[in-house]
């Protein structure tokens, strides 16, 4: 049953709220409260991260089923239980969430100066929601956390954001909500058919093919906004540009993975026939995202906006990989999600470093930073190349596997997908050249300081992870190999059953 011997996942989910309660109880003058809030938040998130390492150690990689499962009766008559558990697909995202949260808290140590207490509260609440969402094994529990993420994120963008923060926060909220409510209807229909919202049971429930299409479209409405897929991606650049650095980091690092995770957890295994028949639609939207947003990224003047558009393109690669339905494609998509979670988070942190010093994100305002900030230039270069997909960095493995998977499906799909990679190299290197190389012309850039020890501490784990994932990927992909093969096998069997059924029925 539970490999940890105690309700580990519940602890990971709810412990941040304990930290939040402690922060709430702090009294005193503003400076003392701020310092207290920072340290409490940091320690809470570090303890959560340390506990989550138990998942890394105790997780049985050969078992494709859900592990660390815990169940508490909630609304038993309606088939709703509080049930948590992880499998190979979700376990690393739990770790990603718990790892990025302390990094974000350290990154906003000095850049958040107003309402520090509320900021730390929002961040710990956000951690609860993220971890809970990846652990949820009941659809209603999942939905609660999935939507609950909106509440802290709305505040993080709206209170500590840039000049157009109100617009960005409301747009973010309404776009995501509009998608999610349709998923709620799909959830209710699934409950009506299966009599339960237990995810492992739903995974084994065959839904009628005609119903699958509607369910799939409802899920698509929700997950496409979260991924985000073209053409519903427009909230992302606004949210990224206006959000504070830590908000952008968590948005790019974890929240964007929620949509792709939803596809993998619900759409693909529960609705195999609709997924297969609607895959061309997903491919079309993904290719559009990869090519179109890459071109858009080339034209950006704002660093954060550029990276935001690059995120849309990279997530397009992920959705291509998911809907290839083969081991390479899905494995690559998972790897790309994880890698993007770390690399794009790091890139937003890189932007944050110079934004904290010069207070602008305009690319043209910079140039020649390599001269004054060699350490920063190195870190930035590493993540730029990882984002481009240089072999030896984490970005390469994911994109390569997805393209291999895509080749098995369709040559043109793979070709257009790889076009994104070329364009990706173009806009990222172009960005790097304009910011880091060249001659310093502005006076304030002349005495800009290199990375502080705090910033080094922020980047060090991300650098290590990026290289580790690039050089020895199987210590990560080993987690999901069993789950992915089981999923692909299940999918193939479901499709074959449908074909057999079609042969039996009179035409």
């Amino acid at each position: 049953m539970n490999a940890a011997g105690f309700p580990l996942l519940s602890l990971l989910t709810w412990l941040p709220l304990v930290g939040a309660a402690v922060i709430l109880s702090v009294r005193g003058d503003e400076a003392a409260v701020a310092a207290n809030a920072r340290w409490t938040a940091l320690w809470t998130s570090l303890i959560v991260f340390a506990l989550s390492l138990l998942l890394w150690v105790r997780f049985d990689q050969s078992d494709p089923a859900f592990q660390f499962v815990e169940t508490v009766s909630w609304l038993p008559q309606w088939g709703i239980t509080y049930k948590l558990g992880v499998d190979g697909i979700s376990v690393l995202f739990v770790l990603l969430s718990t790892a990025l949260t302390p990094i974000c808290i350290v990154a906003s140590w000095e850049s958040i100066t107003v309402r520090v207490r509320e900021f730390m509260l929002a961040f710990l609440l956000l951690e609860t929601m993220m971890v809970g969402m990846f652990c949820a094994l009941d659809f209603v529990v999942f939905y609660m956390f999935f939507e609950g993420v909106l509440i802290p994120m709305y505040f993080i963008i709206g209170v500590w954001g840039g000049p157009r923060r109100v617009y960005a926060a409301i747009k973010f909220f309404l776009y995501t909500l509009a998608g999610s409510v349709l998923m709620l209807l799909a959830l209710l229909l699934m409950w009506y058919v299966a009599g339960t919202t237990d995810i492992p049971t739903l995974l084994r429930t065959p839904f009628p093919v005609a119903m699958q299409t509607w369910l799939f479209l409802a899920f698509l409405a929700s997950f496409a906004v979260k991924v985000p897929m073209w053409p519903v991606h427009t909230w992302l650049p606004d949210a990224h540009v206006e959000a504070p650095t830590a908000g952008s980091v968590i948005l790019a690092g974890v929240l964007l993975k929620m949509g792709a995770y939803g596809f993998l957890r619900f759409s693909l295994p529960m609705l195999p026939n609709a997924s297969a028949s609607l895959a061309p639609l997903i491919f079309a939207l993904s290719v559009m995202a990869v090519v179109y947003t890459s071109y858009v990224a080339l034209a950006q003047q704002d660093m954060k906006k550029l990276i935001a558009y690059s995120s849309v393109a990279h997530m397009g690669v992920v959705t291509i990989g998911i809907f290839t339905f083969n081991i390479q494609g899905i494995s690559g998509a998972l790897f790309q999600m994880l890698s993007h979670g770390i690399v794009s988070a790091a890139l937003f942190l890189c932007v944050g470093v110079i934004y904290d010093r010069i207070h602008t994100r305009e690319i043209a305002r910079y140039g020649g930073l390599a001269d004054r900030m060699p350490a920063y230039a190195f870190v930035f270069m590493l993540f730029t190349l990882a984002s481009v997909g240089l072999p030896g960095t984490s970005g390469f493995i994911g994109e390569f596997l997805v393209l291999v998977g895509a080749f098995k499906v369709n040559f043109w799909l793979a070709l257009l997908g790889s076009l994104g990679m070329i364009l990706g190299a173009a806009y990222m290197l172009y960005l790097y050249r304009r910011v880091i190389f060249g001659v310093i012309t502005r006076a304030d850039l002349r005495d800009i300081l290199d990375l502080s020890p705090r910033e080094v501490a922020v980047f060090a784990p991300l650098v290590v992870l990026t290289l580790w994932m690039g050089i020895y990927p199987s210590s990560f992909s080993g987690f999901w190999d069993a789950s992915v093969s089981a999923m692909v096998e299940h999918h193939r069997a479901a499709l074959e059953a449908a074909v057999k059924l079609a042969g039996v029925l009179p035409q």
Binding site: Y143, A169, L174, L188, Y192
Partner: protein, 473 residues
């Protein structure tokens, strides 16, 4: 004859008269004592209702079942919150007269009768007792032009609706030959009796009751009365009478007219869609928070009616859970609105809330919780109300209604989160006056219920389920 069934109502009426006497005989400041006595009477009666037994009495005029018990307890809780909310306000607004809690008490007696009515006659009596008391309450700040106007408007339009209802009831009686719900159901179970005259009567009844729950297109009075009436009265109007009216509508549609589901389902669906649309769209342009709450309540009634339109046990259960969550959210929101006061003057503009999170974090958090909950964001109680409503819609295959419902909830979310935006994102204005304890208590109770409903929803859902089982279907 089992007259003890109505004992709680009788006790409440007698204590109303006693409180009135005490108010008259007391030389000075009888308002506070009378209010407290009213709250005490409510508590005693609540206990009596919970402990009471079920059955039918007064020749079928009056029924006590798990449905009426659920509704009565909810009404009494809402009324208690209403009295507590008026404690401090009345002091400031020169409304410190002991008749105020007594009127609330008699309105509540009317609502309790409504919840138990199983005869067209007792239905009308309960409704009118409730309505007459609330007309007076709406005009209670008699020196204030807006309040007088609200009371008059409420009275004129309310009487019109009562007339419609009465006309409908007489048609129903004329074409079926009985006033008792059980006998009506018996008569109508035979399709041959579904005469056009009866259907016309049914439509009039629906119209009259739709006015009481302020569903579109009978909502016209709501924004003006909500805005004009003294704020504690608005809080009261928005909670207890709404619960009673919805209960009445549900019982009338499900019990005597349950067999005519096909005939009235279309009407309820249309009313529900129009209410949700108007509730979400018209609220966007509002600057006055009380007016906004009026449109918001119109929208909420639209959602509650989805459960009725579903025409099933699950639907009724959904309506009951929805009303339960609605009462706590609404009472809490009005507690926050009553806290909006600077230098003794009540404020009603949404812009007055600017930067509340800086000046009064506690009130700001409570306000934000209520707004998120009303927008239906999990894990707050409002989400669960919507969850059970939409469950029933999906079960009954009402897809149009369900899809329109969730989409209007997104539009509605816009104006709710805009209030949160004003509270949290806008620069701070001068702080409000210190909050009296009575408001803090109600706001805290509402916020705690709304936030932690998700932890143990099972007993509430089970109670609603049992209540729904008492009705037909």
């Amino acid at each position: 004859m089992n007259w003890t069934l109505a004992l709680p109502e009788i006790v409440l009426s007698i204590s109303g008269m006693a409180i009135l006497l005490i108010g008259v005989l007391q030389k000075r400041d009888s308002f506070f004592i009378c209010s407290m006595l009213t709250v005490g009477a409510f508590l005693v009666v609540t206990l009596m209702i919970v402990a009471g037994h079920t059955g039918q009495g007064y020749n079928g005029l009056f029924t006590v079942d798990s449905f009426s018990t659920f509704i009565k307890v909810l009404v009494l809780v809402a009324a208690t919150l209403g009295v507590v909310l008026s404690l401090d306000y009345s002091e400031h607004a020169n409304m410190r007269r002991f008749e105020f809690p007594v009127l609330m008490l008699y309105a509540t007696v009317g609502m309790l009768v409504m919840a138990s009515a199983t005869n067209l006659m007792s239905l009308y009596l309960g409704l009118e007792l409730q309505a007459l008391a609330t007309y007076v309450l709406a005009a209670f700040a008699r020196d204030e032009l807006r309040s007088a106007e609200a009371g008059l408007k409420f009275f004129v339009l309310g009487s019109l609706a009562s007339g419609l209802l009465l006309y409908g009831l007489s048609l129903v009686y004329g074409f079926s030959g009985t006033m008792e719900f059980a006998k009506l159901a018996q008569v109508l179970s035979d399709p041959a009796h579904g005469s056009p005259g009866l259907i016309v009567g049914l439509v009039f009844v629906v119209a009259g009751l739709a006015f009481k729950v302020s569903a579109v297109p009978f909502h016209m009075w709501t924004p003006d009365v909500y805005e004009g009436a003294p704020t504690p009265v608005t809080a009261f109007l928005a909670t207890a009478p709404k619960v009673a009216a919805v209960a009445l509508l549900v019982r009338v549609m499900a019990t005597p007219f349950g067999h005519l589901l096909v005939q009235w389902q279309q009407v309820i669906i249309l009313v529900s869609i129009l209410s949700m649309l108007l509730g979400s769209l018209a609220a966007i342009g509002q600057r006055n928070i009380k007016r906004l709450m009026a449109y918001s309540s119109i929208g909420h009634m639209g959602y509650a009616l989805i459960g009725l339109a579903a025409g099933s046990q699950a639907g009724l259960r959904g309506v009951l859970i929805y009303m339960l969550t609605y009462v706590f959210m609404t009472a809490g929101t009005f507690a926050c609105i009553l806290g909006m006061r600077r230098r003794g003057r009540m404020l009603e503009q949404i812009s007055d809330l600017a930067g509340l999170s800086r000046t009064d974090p506690g009130l700001a958090v409570a306000f934000a919780i209520f707004m998120f909950s009303m927008a239906g964001i999990p894990p707050f109680a409002g989400f669960w109300g919507k969850y059970f409503i939409f469950t029933s819609a999906v079960q009954s295959g009402l897809w149009t209604l369900a899809v329109i419902g969730v989409l209007t909830s997104v539009i509605g979310a816009f104006y709710y989160i805009r209030i949160i935006k004003v509270i949290y994102f806008d620069p701070a204005e001068a702080p409000f006056d210190a909050r009296p304890a009575s408001l803090s208590v109600v706001a805290a109770a509402g916020a705690l219920f709304t936030t932690f409903f998700f932890v143990i929803p099972a007993p509430f859902v089970a109670a609603a389920e049992a209540a729904a089982k008492a009705l037909a279907w």
